[in-house]
């Protein structure tokens, strides 16, 4: 992929929106790959027993999947120098699956450091699932 360069970026530039499907097998794969095998992310009976509406996605799956919006824009995942978020709502994943919609906007540029700050939103069912989500990208 081509690395995004400082000269190609302006404050206010939009990223996305991008729709990312999430199914039960997505969560099984994330559990296996991350080592987070909490049953609330896989077993709907267990999830309901602890008061959840259904299986919910790992917050870190949501953060990771949302991050692809920025890494694809940057053109090199190794150029994400900072990435942070709050987890504000859960992503409920019924047996039929669900999706998140992610979008971003360049809110700041530091020409000296050659970095851009991207503010990111992620929603599921119309509700924000990430809060104050930002990434800093080292541009080419």
């Amino acid at each position: 992929m081509t690395v995004r360069r400082v000269a190609d970026v302006t404050v206010g530039e939009k990223l996305g929106p991008k729709t990312i499907p999430v199914r039960r097998d997505t969560l099984r794969a994330y559990a296996a790959a991350s080592g987070d095998d909490n049953p609330i992310h896989q077993n709907e009976d267990f999830a309901r027993q602890v008061g959840l509406p259904d299986v919910i996605a790992h917050g870190m799956w949501t953060m990771g999947a949302t991050g692809t919006l920025v890494t694809e824009w940057a053109g090199d995942p190794g150029r994400i120098v900072a990435y942070g978020t709050r987890f504000t709502n859960m992503v409920v994943v019924p047996r039929t699956g669900s999706e998140i919609v992610v979008a971003g906007e360049v809110t700041d540029m530091d020409p000296g450091a050659g970095t851009a700050t991207v503010a990111v939103t992620a929603t599921a069912g119309g509700r924000d699932v990430l809060g104050r989500c930002t990434a800093v990208v080292r541009l080419g």
């Binding site: 992929m1 990312i20 997505t26 794969a29 994330y30 296996a32 790959a33 991350s34 080592g35 987070d36 917050g59 870190m60 799956w61 953060m63 990771g64 999947a65 991050g67 692809t68 890494t71 694809e72 090199d76 995942p77 190794g78 994400i80 120098v81 900072a82 990435y83 942070g84 978020t85 709050r86 987890f87 990434a135």
Partner: protein, 156 residues
């Protein structure tokens, strides 16, 4: 009888500033990176193809930015599982996560992590704890600073 306030107060405030001994090393392998990338939908070939990674300037395939959490959580278990810390893990919710990447985590890395409890505060019935883990490579050079805010819910 346990009230919400009492449940949250069980988190031991004396742990602020405590640093645990280094944990690891954890060896990062290419298959684990590929599996993690697939699970979050990260399709850039730098995660799966060593040739593509070298073309981008890396010695081998690199991890997606959030994969650092898998090592961070193994390191911070020393704190979260410390009986003296007073954390009821069944009440823990992930409130916030931040990464500062000094360089990408790369296949072949031997990563060691040192966990420090940066802050403990009450927010209503809940306790919120900032847990920072500094990840370094085999030469002791900084790779990633990972900070999790965990929320220990009060109440029944």
């Amino acid at each position: 009888m346990s009230t919400p306030r009492m449940a949250a107060m069980a988190v031991n405030p004396d742990f602020v500033g405590r640093t645990y001994p280094p944990s690891g090393p954890y060896v990062v392998d290419a298959d684990a990176i590929a599996a993690f990338a697939a699970a979050v939908g990260a399709t850039d070939p730098v995660h799966t193809d060593a040739k593509a990674a070298r073309a981008a300037g890396y010695p081998d395939v690199i991890a997606p930015p959030t994969m650092a959490v898998t090592i961070e959580q193994r390191c911070s278990r020393a704190y979260v599982g410390d009986p003296e810390a007073g954390i009821d893990y069944s009440r823990v919710v992930h409130g916030e996560q931040r990464f500062t990447h000094h360089r990408p985590i790369t296949a072949g890395d031997h990563i060691t992590g040192t966990t420090t409890v940066d802050g403990i505060r009450q927010a209503g019935a809940h306790a919120m704890v900032d847990v920072r883990t500094e990840l370094v490579d085999a030469e002791g050079k900084a790779v990633c600073t990972a900070v999790s805010t965990i929320v220990i819910r009060g109440g029944e």
